[in-house]
Symmetry: C2
Subunit: 130 residues, 2 copies
DNA sequence: TATCAGTTTAGAATGATTCTAAAGTGTTGA
DNA sequence: TCAACACTTTAGAATCATTCTAAACTGATA
């Protein structure tokens, strides 16, 4: 709890009650893939009522500060990933199911990068089912 | 034009005026990445006024029939791709810019597929800028 | 402890997409 | 040829995740 406060402060985030609760849940040592909605549900289960606006604000604050990754996999919800290491995913749209691929994936055979552009990151999504 | 009609029929799509115009534009031999909005703008330029509802309907009909691929890259618009071959993309969110990678990309080092699941497709997105 | 910038929140707004239901059209069998 | 009907188009309403607004609240600081 004081760890969490320090953690937030060290990321230039004021440790408010809401951020402490959310960070406590998100960064408990277990990697998580969540959406604003699923996070809200999870917090409500734990009797922590936090407005959706704050949940969105907090997810963005954490994202802006590099504490979360953003995953765009579906057109109707944004996923956030507590695993900020470089990694990839298995994804089942059908089962709304997302699994980290932490192994060292190598992408071979890329053509040259478009003129005046730099590669920011390479994302591999392994789509399951259909 | 009669080619287009046949093309639509052979894909179990009734060749309506609107579908003929849209297919004529989309499948002119040049690969395209479009959104409902950009397609609408493009058709309007060409003096073909088609309602947005029909544009959405048609894109989905074409997609359902395998004439288009769907690309989820941003949370606020869906891209459709007239290149239905297996391929990957360079993507610049900043410049809303999308380039095909048709070269034979190889993804090495994938772990085993989750139990009871099958790989549907592997998608590589090379994000540019930041 | 007063002050103030930063934060939370209810509720409104946004905007891409989907839905509804009424009018229009391509197909087909007689 | 054309009536009949299933399929399609469309305006406008609805949906819904997300963002915005602006007022109340709170953590940090001196
Ligand atoms: Mn939606
Ligand atoms: Mn949007
Ligand atoms: Zn992950
Ligand atoms: Zn493409």
């Amino acid at each position: 709890m004081n760890d969490i406060k320090q953690f937030l402060r060290s990321n230039s985030l004021r440790p408010t009650k809401q951020r402490i609760v959310i960070a406590g849940y998100l960064f408990d040592g277990t990697d998580k893939h969540i959406t604003a909605e699923s996070l809200s549900t999870e917090l409500t289960k734990r009797k922590h009522i936090i407005s959706l606006a704050t949940i969105y604000n907090t997810l963005h604050d954490f994202y802006e500060n590099g504490l979360l990754k953003k995953l765009i996999l579906s057109s109707d919800r944004v996923y956030f990933d507590t695993n900020t290491d470089d990694h990839h995913h298995f994804y089942s749209e059908k089962d709304q199911f997302l699994i980290d691929i932490n192994k060292n994936i190598k992408v071979n055979g890329l053509p040259k990068t478009p003129k005046n552009k730099k590669i920011n990151k390479i994302e591999v999504i392994v789509h399951l089912d259909k």
